[in-house]
C-alpha cells in the first residue's frame, strides 16, 4: 500500500512539473482529477454537511423538544434559509434581481466588519507603532551606527557635507538626475546614520505621500513621492530576494522525496523486500 501511495504522489507531482515544459495531456489530466475531487469535497463539506448541521439538524432537534422555541428557530434557521435560497433566482431571468438580496447581506456584513477592524488593526496600530518608535528613539538606536561603529563616526558628517555641497551645486543644475540621485543617497545615509526610527518615519511619510491622488505630481510632491517609491522598491527587492532561498529549499525537498523515497523505496521493495 505504501508503494502504491508513493507512486500516486510521484505520478501527480511529475504531471504538475511537466507543465514547465508546456501544457500537456498529463498535466490536464492531473489538474482535472484534482478539480473533480475538490469540487466533490467542497460539495460534501460545505453543502451537504453544512446544510445538515446548520439547518436540518437544529430544526429537527428543536421540534423534538417538549416546548419548541418557534420564533427563535424561525429567525435563526428558517428565515436565513429562505433568504439564502433567493440566490437560486439567477436561473429565473425575470426574478434575477432577487439574488442580489443575499449577496448584499453578505457583502454588507463583510464590509461593516472590515471598516472597524482595518481602522483599528491597521491604521491606528501602525500609526501608533511608528509614532511610539519615533518618540522613544529620536536619539535612539541605529543598526548602522551600532554594527559599524567606525563608519558610524564619520558617516553623518560625510553625508551631511555631501548634501550641503551638492545642494549648492544643485541650484545651478536643477534638472540633472545624477546629482539629484547622489543627493538622495547622501541624505538617506545621513538620516539612517542618525537613528533607524527616523528613517522609518521618513519612509512612512514619503510612501504615504506617494499615494496622494488629489495633487498633481509636480515640484516638491514629485520629489517626495519619488523618495517614497525608492523606499518601496527597496522593500520589494529585499522581499523578493529573500524568498528565493526558501522556495528553492522546498523544491529540493520535493526532489529529495522523488529520488530517495519514491525511486529508492520502489527499488528496495522490488529487489530487497
Amino acid at each position: 500500500m505504501e508503494i502504491v501511495s508513493l507512486w500516486v504522489i510521484a505520478f501527480f507531482s511529475l504531471c504538475i512539473f511537466s507543465y514547465l515544459y508546456r501544457n500537456n495531456p498529463f498535466y490536464k489530466f492531473a489538474i482535472h482529477v484534482i478539480l473533480g475531487l475538490m469540487v466533490g469535497y467542497m460539495f460534501l463539506q460545505q453543502v451537504t454537511i453544512g446544510l445538515e448541521q446548520l439547518v436540518v439538524s437544529p430544526i429537527l432537534e428543536e421540534l423534538g423538544r417538549p416546548s419548541p422555541d418557534a420564533p427563535d428557530i424561525l429567525i435563526q434557521r428558517v428565515l436565513p434559509l429562505l433568504v439564502a435560497s433567493l440566490i437560486f433566482t439567477i436561473f429565473v431571468p425575470e426574478r434575477r434581481w432577487l439574488s442580489r438580496i443575499p449577496i448584499g447581506l453578505l457583502l454588507g456584513y463583510g464590509m461593516g466588519y472590515m471598516l472597524t477592524k482595518s481602522l483599528e488593526a491597521d491604521v491606528f496600530k501602525q500609526l501608533n507603532a511608528t509614532l511610539t518608535q519615533s518618540i522613544t528613539a529620536i536619539s535612539g538606536d541605529s543598526i548602522f551606527r551600532s554594527r559599524w561603529p567606525a563608519w558610524g563616526q564619520f558617516l553623518p558628517g560625510l553625508s551631511a557635507l555631501t548634501v550641503i555641497g551638492l545642494t549648492i551645486f544643485y541650484r545651478f543644475r536643477m534638472q540633472h538626475p545624477t546629482i539629484r540621485t547622489i543627493i538622495y543617497i547622501a541624505l538617506s545615509l545621513f538620516i539612517c546614520s542618525l537613528a533607524d526610527s527616523i528613517m522609518i518615519l521618513v519612509g512612512v511619510l514619503t510612501v504615504l505621500s506617494y499615494f496622494f491622488f488629489s495633487f498633481e505630481r509636480r515640484g516638491l510632491v514629485e520629489e517626495v513621492s519619488r523618495v517614497g517609491l525608492v523606499f518601496m522598491m527597496v522593500y520589494f527587492g529585499a522581499v523578493f530576494g529573500n524568498t528565493v532561498l526558501t522556495r528553492i529549499q522546498i523544491f529540493i525537498g520535493q526532489v529529495d522525496f522523488l529520488i530517495f523515497k519514491w525511486l529508492g523505496g520502489t527499488w528496495q521493495a522490488l529487489f530487497r523486500g
Binding site: L245, I248, Q249, F251
Partner: protein
C-alpha cells in the same frame, strides 16, 4: 550573441534549475564548508558522550521550517545512534510540531536498527506552557503520562533512565520560534545543564550572546549549520557520505550565484544592445540625411 541571451527561452532556465538541483541532490555533492565555531563545539560535546548516555531534543518549531529542522535533526540522530546514545524528543512549546518528530526519527533509526521505546521515544505535546522548564528539572512523568503513540509512560524503558535534566548529557532545542531565549533564561540558568540550539537563518544573530556566555555548548545555524555538521560527521568517519543539508547548501549557492550572474549578464546585454541600437539609429539617420541631401 547578446540578443540571443536576452531572448532566451525560459525553458532553458527551468532545465538549468532542474539540473542544478537534481544532480547535486542525487550525488550528494557537498558544499565545502569549514565548520564554524558553534557547530564544532556542538559536535565536540556530543562526541564526548558515551554509549548509553541520553539526549533530549525539543522541536520548538512549525511545519513551515521542516526544510531546515529535518536535516538538523537528522545529523544529530546519525551522530547519536552511531555512538549508541539514546534519544528522547518533545515538542511541549509548539503544538504544531506534534506530527513531525516521530517520522523524522524513524527514518534514521531504521538505518541503525534502533528500536522505538528502548533506544528512542517521541513524547509530543503537553499543554504546560513555560511551566515545563521547572517541571522537567524534577521528573517528566509529571508532564507526560504517555508518549505520542499512546504507550504508557511506565512501559517505555528509555524514559526510565532519563527523567530530569541532570540525567541527560545534552538538551537541544530545534527552534523556529523564539524559544532558545526562554530556555536559557528559565531552564539553563537555574538548573545548569548542557544546552544547545539549532535555529533558522534569521535567528542566528540572537544566539551569540548565549554562546559567548557559555550558556549554550554549541549551535547549529540554519541549513548551513547542518551542512557543517555533516562535514564533521564525514571527517570523523561517522558517516561515509554527505547528506541532504550539504547537498542543498551546494544547490542553493549554485542557484543563487548563477541567478545573480545571469541577471548581471542580461543587464550588460541590454546596455550593449541599447548602445548598438542608438548607434545604428544614428548611422541610419546620417545615411538618410546623406541620401536626402544627395537627392537635393
Amino acid at each position: 550573441m547578446w540578443r540571443k541571451l536576452l531572448s532566451l527561452n525560459t525553458r532553458y532556465i527551468y532545465l538549468a534549475i532542474v539540473v542544478m538541483v537534481v544532480i547535486p541532490v542525487v550525488l550528494k555533492v557537498p558544499l565545502p564548508t569549514s565548520p564554524s565555531e558553534p557547530t564544532q563545539k556542538l559536535f565536540d560535546h556530543i562526541d564526548t558522550l558515551e554509549a548509553g548516555d541520553g539526549i533530549w531534543f525539543f522541536l520548538d518549531t512549525r511545519p513551515a521550517t521542516t526544510a531546515i529542522h529535518r536535516p538538523q535533526l537528522h545529523v544529530l540522530l546519525h551522530h547519536c545512534f552511531s555512538k549508541g546514545i539514546k534519544v528522547v524528543g518533545f515538542n511541549p512549546l509548539a503544538p504544531e510540531a506534534t506530527g513531525m518528530g516521530r517520522p523524522f526519527i524513524q527514518e534514521i533509526a531504521a538505518q541503525y536498527g534502533k528500536q522505538e521505546y528502548t533506544d528512542w521515544a517521541y513524547m509530543g505535546y503537553t499543554p504546560a506552557g513555560l511551566a515545563i522548564f521547572s517541571a522537567m528539572s524534577k521528573d517528566i512523568k509529571g508532564l507526560y503520562s504517555q508518549d505520542v503513540t499512546g504507550k504508557a509512560f511506565d512501559e517505555i524503558p528509555v524514559l526510565q533512565q532519563f527523567r530530569k535534566y541532570s540525567d541527560v548529557g545534552l538538551v537541544i532545542t530545534l527552534a523556529g520560534l523564539k524559544t532558545p531565549g526562554y530556555w536559557v533564561k528559565y531552564a539553563q540558568t537555574p538548573y545548569k545543564f548542557p544546552f544547545a540550539s539549532g535555529v533558522t537563518g534569521p535567528m542566528i544573530a540572537d544566539q551569540f550572546p548565549f554562546l559567548n556566555a557559555g550558556q549554550m555548548v554549541g549551535m547549529m545555524g540554519g541549513i548551513l549549520g547542518a551542512a557543517e555538521y555533516e562535514g564533521l560527521l564525514k571527517k570523523n568517519n561517522i558517516r561515509k557520505q554527505f547528506g541532504i543539508a550539504s547537498a542543498s547548501m551546494f544547490v542553493q549557492t549554485v542557484v543563487h550565484y548563477i541567478l545573480v550572474a545571469i541577471i548581471i549578464l542580461a543587464n550588460i546585454a541590454t546596455f550593449i544592445i541599447n548602445n548598438q541600437d542608438k548607434k545604428d539609429r544614428q548611422a541610419r539617420a546620417e545615411a538618410r540625411a546623406k541620401a536626402d541631401s544627395g537627392i537635393e
